[in-house]
Amino acid sequence: MQNAKDTFYVSLRDRLSAVNPARTMVLRGVTRPGVLVEENELASAYQPVDAFCLRWTGSRVDMRGALPLVAMHCEIRYGSDGNAGNGGMDRGRLLAAMDAELVAAVGAAPQSAAKMSYAGATPVALGTRVFWGDVAFGAATVNGERLERVATVEVFCYQEAGEL
């Protein structure tokens, strides 16, 4: 399952970066595309703004086929305070822009990617593909001066023989 999670993250990161190369963040002193996986970073109460934060929540396994079919629930959290120069009055527009970027990245064909193992120094292609559904948007919530949203995507993969 970890390979599928990594594959989805890398696919989404690359697609989001292609849609809006200007959306970057500085994390631990490094400038990188504005998307991260929460469980891969230092535990922190801080959630970056104007960036996408992936959180893996539930999963289930269907054992009926030739290979176990795994369905994983991915939450994508993001928010914006708006630009200070605009007094934050553009926070709705900035959140809508992030909505659109997410739609473009998740919905672009193909909604699948060859499953990769990133465990070693060099990524290794596995035998199946990771695939996912359309993005579903939760309601925008107001948190102080910040406008936030949680979107969800169902990600699917086959657990290959010998894969942990």
Partner: protein, 324 residues
């Protein structure tokens, strides 16, 4: 992945169905042929000729109505063997887009163009007498209609147009590119010079006008206009419940699997088996999306490999390195 490099053959997972159209030559009764061995892996956005993209469809359902009976002998009767007593199949679907082709295929009968009427034309349910058509001059292509500067000024960007021959007493199937209707006699169509253009599927949208030519947004189904064809403007399309014509087409439906596999369903001959119908999909509040709903009966062809009479072909192209 096993030590052999093979991956288990899982059931295909797919998300939607892409539909394609090809005309059937009604005059000689020859449908289009799709060879999955040669063409099966085509890119969905660029189908091989003569197939035309109909876009995505939903609620795709195939139904086999073939009946198998038992041959019994003895007393008491014991089934000794089986026979097919009836071979029949249907396919139903909902088109996600409303184009001329999709409307025509689901209309159940001939589907007509609402030709812009002549001044003072009497009102009629499928459109009144049409305005005079504009002749094409040399140099037209499948995407560019050369009419001359003076005639071009009568058109505007955004106009819908139909391009086809004049009706001159033809009897039988009419319509360029696709047989669009059947004329039993000249009197039934009132000897209307515009009748072929009224039913033709050879339509397009003007997206630019320059140098006496109308640039179309897509290629005409019939390709480069033939000598004698004329162009008429139209307001839209109309179909009717009733009518004596059955539109027939070759259908191809493709489901791409998420593991690189592909299912293809090729129906050489399909005819609508219901009148024009829609299905409504609730969006929110009073809003509903209206989809074209079609149900088609498959008609037979003979497979050249063994002479068997068949209605449809289902092909499966497994993903790379999948066990079979």
């Amino acid at each position: 992945m096993s030590g052999s490099g093979l991956v288990g053959a899982v059931a295909p997972v797919t998300r939607r169905v892409r539909a394609y159209f090809a005309p059937v030559d009604r005059v000689v009764g020859v449908p289009a042929v799709f060879d999955p061995a040669q063409m099966g892996t085509f890119a969905l956005d660029t189908p091989p000729a003569p197939w035309v993209d109909l876009g995505w469809c939903s609620a795709f359902a195939r139904k086999s109505l073939t009946e198998v009976g038992a041959l019994r002998t003895g007393a008491p009767a014991v089934a000794q063997s089986q026979i097919r007593t009836e071979v029949e199949a249907t396919v139903s679907l909902e088109f996600e887009s409303w184009g001329k082709l999709q409307i025509a295929l689901t209309a159940g009968s001939q589907q007509m163009n609402l030709l812009v009427t002549a001044n003072g034309a009497a009102a009629n349910g499928s459109g009144g007498a049409a305005a005079a058509p504009i002749p094409l001059i040399a140099g037209s292509t499948a995407t560019s209609l050369t009419v001359g500067a003076a005639a071009a000024s009568q058109f505007s960007v955004g106009d819908l147009v139909v391009v086809d021959v004049d009706y001159a007493g033809q009897v039988g199937f009419v319509g360029s590119g696709v047989s669009a209707a059947y004329v039993s006699s000249a009197t039934t169509v009132g000897n209307d010079v515009n009748y072929v253009r009224r039913v033709s599927l050879n339509v397009g949208r003007v997206v630019a006008i320059a140098d006496g030519s109308l640039q179309l947004g897509g290629a005409l189904l019939a390709g480069v206009p033939a000598t004698g064809m004329q162009v008429s403007r139209l307001a839209g399309f109309v179909d009717r419940e009733g009518g004596g014509f059955f539109q027939e087409w070759s259908g191809l439906f493709v489901m791409d699997g998420e593991q690189g596999d592909r299912m293809l369903y090729f129906y050489p001959r399909l005819q609508a088996m219901q009148g024009a119908a829609e299905s409504l999909e609730a969006l929110a509040g009073p809003l509903e999306r209206v989809k074209l709903a079609g149900v088609f009966r498959a008609l037979p062809v003979k497979d050249a490999n063994d002479g068997e009479t068949v209605l449809c072909f289902r092909s499966y192209l497994p993903g790379a390195m999948r066990a079979v």
